[in-house]
Symmetry: C2
DNA sequence: GTGAAAGCGCTAACAT
DNA sequence: ATGTTAGCGCTTTCAC
């Protein structure tokens, strides 16, 4: 447990001032190449490591980005994290991550911690029951950029990274209609969350545009878990007349629902066609493979961090590009394919 | 973007010295209760937030735990992360997370960053091609605890958190044998990684203990991906005589392998019984549902952080409990069940 | 129970 | 191209 080497030690070793050492180590142009070289050598030789706290304290910057996410252990969110980590590390930023467990209460606590940790910027996917975003006010006040992704909030001082959920749902629903479905159930999550509200909208628009009636009773709102999928299946089986298509806001729930319907003796997609959402690995394993919307989580993570860092570096003005919309795509597989594709 | 409030501002406001403010804010016993109270009030009123950098700089402690993980976007690893985050946040620690992408090269770079970030402790699940752990030497030298989990390395100065992979594999294989399997294939990952080496061992021991021959050609080593599962299936189909059981080190790969076998016209578990590993959500969605080993990822994350913090707080000596073994469990489902269970 | 003073290690003005 | 100086905000002796 030997003592840490500081720039003073190096300065003494090389015979220059600490300032020069500091400059050399930060690759400041106004330092003689030879001096720089010597400083580098001595530094590594002495086993020097920069003290980020002293540096941060001085620079009032942390090179740290905070992330608040509903749940870490979700296929989608962990892809997002992976993308974020990649870009952040490449750019020399650390990521500190916390989960709200989907509750506003924990989200507020997390926001406080992030604020105290003086993150340079914050990336947030909102909790289910977040009613307002007052808890991010301190960030806005201090000019710390807050960037929402996936589950976003409208706010003039922050950017959102999303996909066009209305359009994606519209495409999914239209696809079902094109496959001959006339009574399409929509299973989705809490409508307070933008993504689910938008998907419901897209579903509705698609019906209307194809002269199908929108029927409130065909919309099932639940928490999109495994059990919810099974429960939804029994609700569907009880409907009269029986629906012939289901559009679910989540693959995992869709897969479970599909299995339950199969077990009840229905054939997929013959009796009921099914479309999920997210393109999780699970879609390629169930039988039949699940038609779904490809939602680029990894890419979303990359874009989120990149946007934030660009802003921090003064390369872009976040408030101008208020919303970044990523491309999503319908992927047609066996669970919905009744007719040969065009 | 107003200026930050410091303890000096509070000191002025209350009419005491900064020292007293610092002590009060840290709940030091030798401060008058009334003074403390007043200081708290003024502090919150002024919107004070402690500057962790100044504090860390002074205390030479960061309240930050580093995590190096192969891939964030894996079902197992993200469960682990979730467990870690929970315990860390509760204890007032931040988590900084980085992924090695399974390569030693990135792992070494990550270790360096973590070292420079002066994490109080490090949690590591090793990369595939990590040949030695010299890159953690700086931590050992400085007395920073390094704790390995899941993919661990033997090292006298560090604790490992694992499950008994030998035993788990032994149980899985024995189960297949009890179901009447005689020629059991084992699909697993790179044998340099302890978990896969141990599972192979468990598989081997189970065969021997039940008087079945161990046959090198029945062991398939691949990267356990989706494609690897499908590829493995065709290898199995080409084997003569055909195997009647498969034990796969990973559910996702197992599920894909199973599907490929089904598509080739084999019946599961009739022709071939299958057992996976990890108890991922996918196991409950495929058909038949996949028998697997329940691997407590979330719990592992909790235990890892808890152990580390206990050590940091001086509550436990990590070097004494050199290995923590969590319980794992065989979960029998349709993919392997040929006889009524005992 | 409270305060004065020093210093953690670094960087940014401002010289030279 | 390099050095001097000051200070980021906090904690911790040591003194009263």
């Amino acid at each position: 447990m030997d003592k840490d080497i500081t720039i003073y030690d190096i300065a003494k070793g090389v015979g220059v001032s600490p300032t020069t050492v500091s400059r050399a180590l930060n690759d400041h142009p106004a330092v003689n190449k030879k001096t720089k070289q010597r400083i580098y050598e001595i530094a590594t030789q002495m086993g020097y490591r920069s003290n980020m706290f002293a540096s941060n304290l001085r620079k009032q910057r942390t090179n740290t980005i905070g992330v608040i996410v509903p749940h870490l252990n979700s296929s989608f969110q962990s892809s997002v994290m992976a993308g974020m980590e990649k870009v952040a590390t490449e750019a020399g930023y650390n990521l500190i991550i916390s989960q709200s467990m989907g509750t506003a209460e924990k989200e507020i606590a997390n926001a406080k911690t992030m604020f105290n940790s003086r993150v340079d910027g914050l990336l947030v996917s909102l909790a289910t029951d977040t009613e307002n975003i007052d808890h991010f006010e301190p960030f806005f006040k201090k000019g710390v950029p807050v960037l929402f992704y996936d589950r976003v909030a409208e706010h003039k001082q922050s950017t959102s990274i999303i996909i066009d959920n209305v359009q994606a749902a519209y495409r999914a629903t239209t696809h079902l209609i094109e496959q001959g479905c006339q009574r399409i159930v929509h299973i989705t999550g809490n409508l307070r969350i933008n993504v689910y509200a938008h998907r419901l909208k897209g579903y509705k628009y698609a019906l209307i545009d194809h002269d199908l009636p929108f029927n409130e009773s065909l919309v099932i709102v639940n928490d999109l878990t495994e059990e919810a999928g099974i429960e939804a299946a029994s609700q569907i089986l009880a409907m009269e007349p029986r629906p012939d298509g289901v559009f679910v806001s989540n693959d995992f729930c869709a897969a479970n629902c599909m299995n339950a319907l199969k077990q009840a003796g229905l054939s997929i997609p013959g009796d009921i066609a099914i479309v999920g959402f997210n393109n999780e690995p699970i879609t390629r394993v169930v039988e039949p493979a699940l038609t779904t919307i490809d939602y680029p989580g990894y890419e979303m993570g990359e874009v989120a961090v990149r946007s934030l860092i660009n802003y921090l570096d003064g390369l872009s003005d976040i408030s101008i590009t208020n919303t970044v919309t990523l491309r999503s795509e319908l992927i047609v597989r066996g669970s919905s394919l009744r007719k040969p594709q065009v």
